[in-house]
C-alpha cells in the first residue's frame, strides 16, 4: 500500500498513531524524507487531515491513515475537502465499534460512515481491497481518482488485509498509470477555480502559482467566494454530485467470479470476499451453482454490477462483518426479482468459508 502511494506520487503524509493503521505511518516516516517528501505526526486526526488538505492545495499529493475513532474525527475536514474540491487520500483500517470498540480485530463497520459520515449532501468515493496486490493497486487508483475528480477518496481496509503478508511482484513504475490534476491554462485573471466544465471537474491551480484564488468551506460561486444566492448554490451542489455520477464507469470496479450460470450469487468485499471465493468453490463441488460478485469500489454503489448478476441469480447472499450495511444497498437496487439474504458477524472474528457455505445450504 505504501509502495502504491509512493508510485502514485504521494509526497506528504500527516497522521496520528492508531491501531491498526500505525504501520503505514511508520513505514512512510522512513521512506518519505528520502524522496524529499514530508512526514509529520500531528496532534490528532483532525489536524492530520487539515494538514493533508493544506499540503494538497500547495500541489503535493497527500494522504493520511487512520481507524474508526480517528476516521470519526476526520469527518468535518473530509466534508471540507469535498466542498473545496481538494484531492487527497484517507486510508481507514476499519475496526469494530462503536467507540473505542475492538482496536485489534477486523471489521467492516465503517462502510456507511465512509458514505454519510460527514454532514450535508455530498458525493463520496470509497474503495476497498482484499489482497495485498489490491492494496497496492487501489492506493494508486485512489490517488488517481482523487486527482481526476478533485475529491477526497477513502480507502477502506480491514485489519486482516492490512496486516496480511502475501508475495507480490511490484510492477515496473513506468507501467503504472498515474494521473495528475488538470492545471488551468488560462491567465490568472480568467481563472475560475470552481467553474462547470464538460466533465464537471474544474482545473485546479496550486497555491503559489500566481492564480491567487480563494478556497472556502462555505458554499461558493465559480470564483470560490462565499455565496448565498440560490441560483449559484443549487448548480454548485448539483455539479459536485454530477462530476461523480456522470463518470460512474470510470470509478466503478467490481469482479465477477462464475456468475454467468450462478443461481446464488455472493456479494462480498474486503477480506470476506476471500472466504466467499473459497465457499463458492466448495459449493460448486457439491453441485450448487454459486457465483461471487466482489465489490472493489464501495461508493458510489455498484448498482449496475448487482443488476447484472440479477439477470441470472434469484438468490443473493451478502456476508459482511457488520450488521448489514452493504446488504441494505443490495436490497435497495433489487427490484424484487431476487431474495437477498445476509450473514452478519460483529464479534471481531472473520467470516469463514464454512460459515458462508452453511448459509448457502440454508438458503439454497
Amino acid at each position: 500500500m505504501v509502495e502504491g502511494a509512493l508510485v502514485a506520487g504521494c509526497r506528504f503524509f500527516a497522521g496520528y498513531p492508531i491501531t491498526p493503521a500505525s504501520e503505514i505511518s511508520e513505514i512512510l516516516s522512513i521512506k518519505l524524507p528520502r524522496l524529499d517528501g514530508t512526514f509529520i505526526q500531528m496532534e490528532d486526526e483532525i489536524a492530520s487531515l487539515g494538514a493533508v488538505i493544506g499540503a494538497s492545495l500547495a500541489g503535493v499529493k497527500s494522504m493520511t491513515a487512520t481507524s474508526g475513532p480517528g476516521f470519526s474525527l476526520m469527518q468535518e475536514n473530509l466534508g471540507f475537502a469535498i466542498m473545496a474540491e481538494v484531492p487527497c487520500v484517507i486510508v481507514n483500517v476499519m475496526r469494530g465499534g462503536p467507540s473505542t470498540g475492538l482496536p485489534t480485530f477486523p471489521s467492516q463497520s465503517d462502510v456507511m460512515q465512509a458514505r454519510w459520515g460527514t454532514h450535508g449532501d455530498h458525493p463520496a468515493i470509497a474503495l476497498s481491497a482484499s489482497t495485498v496486490r489490491e492494496c497496492y493497486e487501489m492506493t494508486v487508483k485512489a490517488f488517481n481518482l482523487s486527482e481526476k475528480f478533485r475529491t477526497p477518496v477513502v480507502l477502506l481496509m480491514d485489519e486482516v488485509v492490512a496486516h496480511m503478508r502475501e508475495k507480490m511482484v511490484l510492477p515496473d513504475e513506468d507501467d503504472v498509470e498515474v494521473f495528475n490534476r488538470v492545471k488551468p491554462t488560462v491567465p490568472p485573471e480568467w481563472y475560475m477555480p470552481y467553474e462547470d466544465t464538460p466533465r464537471g471537474v474544474p482545473a485546479m491551480a496550486n497555491f503559489g502559482e500566481g492564480y491567487r484564488y480563494h478556497v472556502t468551506g462555505l458554499t461558493h460561486d465559480v470564483r470560490g467566494f462565499p455565496t448565498s444566492r440560490p441560483d449559484e448554490i443549487g448548480p454548485f451542489i448539483a455539479r459536485l454530485h454530477r462530476k461523480i455520477s456522470q463518470h460512474f464507469s470510470e470509478i466503478q470496479m467490481a469482479e465477477f467470479f462464475q456468475t454467468e450460470d450462478a443461481e446464488i450469487t455472493i456479494v462480498a468485499y474486503g477480506c470476506v470476499a476471500r472466504s466467499a471465493r473459497r465457499a463458492m468453490i466448495e459449493a460448486r463441488e457439491r453441485g450448487i451453482k454459486v457465483g461471487l460478485l466482489k465489490l472493489v469500489t464501495i461508493w458510489p454503489f455498484a448498482r449496475s454490477a448487482v443488476e447484472k448478476v440479477l439477470q441470472k441469480s434469484r438468490i443473493l447472499l451478502v456476508p459482511e462483518m457488520n450488521m448489514g450495511q452493504i446488504s441494505r444497498e443490495v436490497k435497495r437496487v433489487n427490484p424484487g426479482v431476487a431474495k437477498v439474504f445476509t450473514l452478519n458477524k460483529v464479534d471481531g472474528t472473520i467470516i469463514t468459508p464454512e460459515e458462508i457455505l452453511n448459509r448457502i445450504t440454508e438458503v439454497a
Partner: protein, 298 residues
C-alpha cells in the same frame, strides 16, 4: 474605511491587495477587524515579499472572513483548524509565507491544541489573533478571552471563568515572537507584523479589538469610539517583560508590547537536519540556530 474610498474612487495604496469587488465587507460599523486588516496589508506590502508566495489562512468567525477580501492565495478553513491547514501548506511549499488570521475563540478554544503544538514545533508562520473578548459572529457568547465578570449571552450575570493570557501561553509553548497591541496602536501593529512576517518561526501577535456590537454593548462600554478609547487608555506599554506578567485587567490596565523575540530552529530546519543521515544519529547532532536571512525593510 474601504467603503468610503470606493465612493470617492481615488486609488488607495492597498488596492492591489484588495478584492474590491468583494466589498462591502461583513464587519459591523466600529469593529476593530478592519483596522487590523489594513495593518496586515501594509505589512505585506512593506515586507517586499513576492505576493504569489504569500498565503493567508483563516479559521471561522468574524476575523476568519479576512482571507476573502485579500487578493492573494487565501484559505478559509474549518472552525479552529486554520493552523493545521497552514502547517500542511507551509511544509509542502516551504517558500510560502503563511499568515494565519483568526479570532480568540477559533484559535484558543476549539483550536487550542493545534496552537500549542504548532508553537512547540516552531512551524514558520505568523499568527494574528484578533481578540475581541467574545464570540462575535455567533452573537456574543463567552470565550476563553472573556474577562472575569464580563457579560455575554451565555454569561448574562457575569463570566465566572478566568480567561487565558494568550501571550504567556504562546511564549510557554515556544513561540519565537510574541507581541500584543490594541487597535489604536496602528504603527506598532504594522511594525510588529512586519517583524513577525520576516521572522523565521512561529510568531504570535495578539490585538485587542473593539467589538462594539456584541461585547461592548452588553458590558456598557459605550459606542465604538468609547470602546476603542477605553482599550487604548487602559493600555500600558511594557516591552520585553515576561508575558506572564503582561496581565489584562479591565479594571486597572491592559499590558501591551513586544514581549518575545528569540531565535530557534524551525520545524523544517530540524526535519532536514535530522534526516541528513550522514550526520550520524540524532542525539549526537549539534542543534544549530540557522542564520536569519535578512530582508530589506520597506
Amino acid at each position: 474605511m474601504t467603503k468610503k474610498k470606493q465612493k470617492v474612487a481615488l486609488p488607495h495604496p492597498h488596492d492591489p491587495l484588495l478584492r474590491a469587488d468583494r466589498i462591502p465587507h461583513i464587519w459591523c460599523p466600529g469593529c476593530g477587524i478592519g483596522t487590523i486588516f489594513g495593518c496586515v496589508l501594509t505589512a505585506i506590502q512593506k515586507s517586499g515579499l513576492p505576493l504569489d508566495d504569500v498565503a493567508m489562512v483563516s479559521g471561522i468567525g468574524c476575523t476568519g472572513r479576512m482571507a476573502g477580501y485579500l487578493n492573494l492565495d487565501s484559505f478559509h478553513t474549518t472552525h479552529g483548524r486554520a493552523i493545521p491547514f497552514a502547517t500542511g501548506l507551509k511544509l509542502a511549499r516551504p517558500q510560502s509565507s503563511v499568515i494565519v488570521t483568526s479570532g480568540d475563540g477559533d484559535l484558543f478554544a476549539i483550536g487550542g491544541n493545534h496552537f500549542i503544538h504548532a508553537a512547540r514545533r516552531n512551524v514558520d508562520m505568523t499568527i494574528v489573533c484578533v481578540n475581541n473578548f467574545n464570540y462575535g459572529m455567533t452573537g456574543g457568547q463567552v470565550a476563553p478571552s472573556t474577562p472575569f465578570g464580563a457579560k455575554t449571552t451565555t454569561t448574562p450575570i457575569g463570566n465566572f471563568e478566568e480567561p487565558f493570557n494568550f501571550c504567556s501561553l504562546a511564549a510557554a509553548c515556544g513561540a519565537v515572537y510574541v507581541a500584543r497591541w490594541t487597535t489604536l496602536h496602528i504603527r506598532w501593529i504594522t511594525d510588529s507584523l512586519l517583524e513577525a512576517i520576516q521572522k523565521r518561526g512561529f510568531s504570535f501577535l495578539e490585538i485587542l479589538a473593539p467589538c462594539p456590537v456584541t461585547f461592548g454593548r452588553r458590558n456598557k462600554l459605550g459606542k465604538a469610539v468609547d470602546l476603542i478609547k477605553f482599550l487604548h487608555e487602559r493600555s500600558v506599554v511594557r516591552n520585553q517583560i515576561d508575558p506572564k506578567d503582561a496581565v489584562l485587567d479591565f479594571n486597572k490596565h491592559l499590558v501591551v508590547g513586544k514581549f518575545i523575540d528569540i531565535e530557534r530552529p524551525t520545524f523544517l530546519d530540524n526535519y532536514q537536519l535530522i534526516n541528513r543521515r550522514e550526520l550520524g544519529d540524532w542525539p549526537a547532532l549539534e542543534r544549530q540556530v540557522p542564520r536569519m536571512e535578512k530582508q530589506a525593510k520597506g
